[in-house]
Subunit: 138 residues, 2 copies
DNA sequence: TTGCGTGCAAAGGTTTTGCATGGCA
DNA sequence: TGCCATGCAAAACCTTTGCACGCAA
């Protein structure tokens, strides 16, 4: 199902470079497509999807599904598999204005622990999205 | 964005009845469509989507997105959220077996407080679903 | 040279939308 | 009667797939 690509190609290189540059932002497949198209270095859509899938597989980027209809978001998390790498961010989505907030917060990690210890539920922070109202919409 | 439907129609009635009957199971929009079609009481697809959206809005059913490409799942949760104002029920959804776990837990209330105090985000516990793995699927 | 990777176009599947008709209040 | 809801078909949307060509190793 997940075919991990094996060659080092130009497309892969510049894709990784791009994602790394925008670390901390949510990048969609079409963001990538439009960006390279505007740069004259266009990459085919299928290549983008295939490379992104592969990079997720390798743990170099994370894939976030905020809601079923909007496109998946990707974010660079690095390829050094040390403790601080692979850091996951939590997401809050405003139901009113649609704003997406991502949080790197230790306190939220405690939820994970609590759910696991007391409820034997292993939370998947990548898939979980907190819905509610942002400060502007409260 | 979310237009809440206001009339009590036959389609709405039998849809709710159906969802309630299959409480605890994952129902997709096309499950609904096929079911009623096979019963000779067919409901139009757009009606199904519109009613489901409305019911989610009203908190009568929850919507689950297990993975971005497969269709969204819906599940009856009733309007027991409004029973006693103080006690809110959180939901954990197992990504593997689909089990839905209802939690009434004080510690989870702290998340709400934390998000509000430190991140100025007002969590909606009804809409928010924790995804992960249940004890049987870990 | 041997596959894997790429890119185009087309298909796939889910959800939304436009518009005329039907039905609730 | 005045809206709202319905249903059909078509569109929109993101993503995957088939296939021929190109390129890395």
């Amino acid at each position: 199902m997940n075919t991990r690509l094996k060659y080092k190609t130009k497309q892969r290189e510049i894709l990784i470079e791009y994602l790394e540059k925008f670390q901390g932002k949510h990048i969609t497949a079409s963001d990538v497509y439009e960006y390279f198209r505007s740069q004259g270095e266009s990459i085919g859509q299928s290549t983008i999807y295939r490379q992104l899938e592969s990079l997720v597989d390798e743990g170099i980027i994370n894939k976030y599904i905020i809601d079923g209809n909007s496109p998946a978001c990707f974010e660079y998390v690095g390829n050094d598999h040390h403790h601080d790498a692979g850091e996951v961010c939590y997401h809050c989505k405003c139901q009113k204005c649609g704003k997406l907030i991502h949080l790197n917060c230790d306190e939220l990690e405690e939820i994970q622990e609590h759910l696991f210890k007391d409820h034997r539920f292993k939370l998947d922070p990548i898939r979980t999205v907190f819905y509610g109202l942002c400060e502007n919409c409260i």
